[in-house]
């Protein structure tokens, strides 16, 4: 079991800890619903130190990443991020969804899912060998356990960072980052304008990457400046409200990005990378199921859970992969893969909740 370096300070602020992807980390601070509301209305702190952070370094870095990642990285400039991008297996299934940061031509950073960190490293090293590169050409370093990643999310994020002296925060535009920022005693390795709670449409949040010592100090000073701590349950609810996928729930190696409708993680026309040819042939040839949103009727308090069946008459036409209660729209929401010939957007199908049927509306994303 790995433990977040912020464990001590999070406990002191009332965290309930639990395991996520092999990490002991803060699941909530007493009330995840109010943590969601605070994120939507103000600013909250999420400890996302469990997420994998890798450094790819060397003059063959671009060639290796270009071979393995769905996004066109050639259009990036130093200080820019790829946005959501995918690593695919050779069948076009999703090995991971990641974020790529271009430091310079020869140095790149990757933030990946905690659950896939080791798998991703092995995949990068395997393909380095297959492409005939050496460790001198391109190295892959795991920076995860020596550092802290704090997401500051919500409309007051910028104000919050400015209030602790990060005056340049306003200069960072969406999916851009700055490095080696000094603020008084604090030293921050990287600040990016990004997140997983709704930045795509709102462009509110930041993610701050530091070493462990500075991470603890930063967390404390953000709390002193008025930020409310939030946990992974709230983060899960917020991402479901946006329709974002969680690896292991909504996407995995057996799912194609076309089925997941993960359009923003693809670069149309890029078919040279591993698995990309399969994705684009599926795009042309069509798929049998697609990911859609689900909404229970107002007042139905059940939560849609992974594995619940979607029914049309007596026929199972889909399966829930994620769900929660949305405090923003005050409805129970979720997502499911639904057979294409039954994906009646705007219509109601039924969902089987432990033997009882409830009407569920098929919708698009986001929910808010």
């Amino acid at each position: 079991m790995l433990r977040t370096p912020l464990e001590g300070i999070e406990r002191a602020h009332g965290a309930n800890l639990g395991l996520f992807a092999g990490w002991l980390t803060a699941l909530d601070f007493g009330d995840p619903i109010s943590e969601c509301r605070a994120t939507r209305s103000s600013a909250t702190l999420f400890d996302v130190s469990h997420m994998g952070r890798l450094e790819v370094d060397g003059n063959k870095s671009f060639e290796l990443l270009d071979k393995l990642i769905t996004k066109d990285l050639s259009t990036l400039n130093p200080g820019e991020m790829s946005g959501p991008a995918l690593i695919l297996n050779e069948n076009g299934g999703i090995k991971d969804d990641i974020m790529v940061y271009m430091v310079n031509d020869n140095k790149w950073l990757i933030v990946c899912n905690a659950v896939n960190r080791v798998k991703d490293i092995n995949w990068l090293l395997e393909w380095r060998d297959r492409l005939g590169f050496t460790n001198g050409d391109v190295s892959v370093k795991d920076l995860t356990t020596d550092s802290v990643l704090i997401a500051v999310q919500g409309p007051k994020s910028l104000e919050l960072l400015e209030s602790i002296g990060i005056k340049d925060a306003c200069k960072i535009s969406l999916l851009n980052f700055m490095q080696n920022i000094r603020v008084g005693e604090l030293s921050i390795y990287l600040i990016s304008r990004s997140g997983w709670t709704g930045e795509e449409v709102r462009s509110y949040g930041f993610e701050l990457w530091t070493d462990v010592l500075n991470g603890v100090k930063l967390y404390e000073s953000l709390i002193k400046a008025g930020a409310k701590p939030a946990g992974l349950i709230a983060r899960d609810i917020l991402r479901i409200e946006m329709g974002y996928v969680l690896y292991g729930n909504d996407i995995d190696e057996a799912v194609s990005p076309i089925e997941a409708r993960y359009w923003m993680a693809l670069s149309r026309g890029k078919d040279e990378c591993v698995g990309c040819d399969r994705v684009w042939s599926k795009y042309v040839g069509g798929v049998n199921r697609l990911r859609y949103g689900l909404k229970l009727k107002r007042g139905v308090k059940h939560i849609l859970r992974r594995g619940y069946k979607i029914l049309a008459g007596d026929e199972v036409v889909g399966e829930v992969t994620s769900g929660s209660y949305s405090p923003t729209i005050e409805r129970s929401i979720g997502m499911a893969y639904i057979k294409v010939d039954h994906a009646y957007i705007g219509f109601n199908l039924d969902v089987d909740i432990r033997g009882n049927r409830y009407e569920v509306k098929i919708t698009d994303f986001p929910f808010i």
């Binding site: 309930n16 800890l17 639990g18 995840p32 619903i33 349950i233 939560i303 859970r305 432990r354």
Partner: protein
């Protein structure tokens, strides 16, 4: 809360233990008064579930066996059955929970109580855990 409680600290958090009740392995508490048993879920259980959004209660008068599911609690994290710690007839249910399921989060040993039973087999009481044993159970499951 006027009753005596202690706080147990484990690797995942702090949990309130009420001292004048008995416990089950499945995280229910039982307050025995004469031949009745007031039943709820523990602070540890509510903290594992977090943000409870829905509670399904049994019918009054129904006879339940020890270990049988008597209520369903649904939170943003999970669905959990509440298992009857004892056999008996349901005397009362806490209907307040239908509109205020969060009472279980706010006050699991008080206004978050779930059902009241008429005990049919007093021998079963011996199978319930003391608070000391329940604390051991929490610590060993962390």
């Amino acid at each position: 809360m006027s009753e005596a409680h202690i706080t147990v600290r484990t690797s995942t958090g702090e949990y309130l233990i009420r001292l004048d009740v008995r416990y089950t392995e499945s995280d229910e508490w039982v307050l025995i008064r004469g031949n009745t048993a007031l039943i709820g879920i523990t602070d540890y259980a509510q903290k594992k579930l977090r943000s409870i959004v829905n509670v399904e209660l049994p019918a009054i008068g129904k006879y339940v066996k020890k270990g049988e599911s008597v209520a369903v609690i649904e939170s943003v994290k999970a669905v959990a059955d509440v298992y009857s710690p004892l056999s008996g007839r349901i005397l009362e249910v806490n209907n307040e929970l239908l509109t205020h399921p969060e009472y279980i989060n706010e006050d699991p040993y008080g206004k978050g109580w779930i059902i009241k039973l008429e005990i049919s087999d007093v021998n079963e009481i011996n199978d319930l855990l003391s608070h000391e044993k329940y604390i051991e159970k929490i610590r060993s499951s962390e």
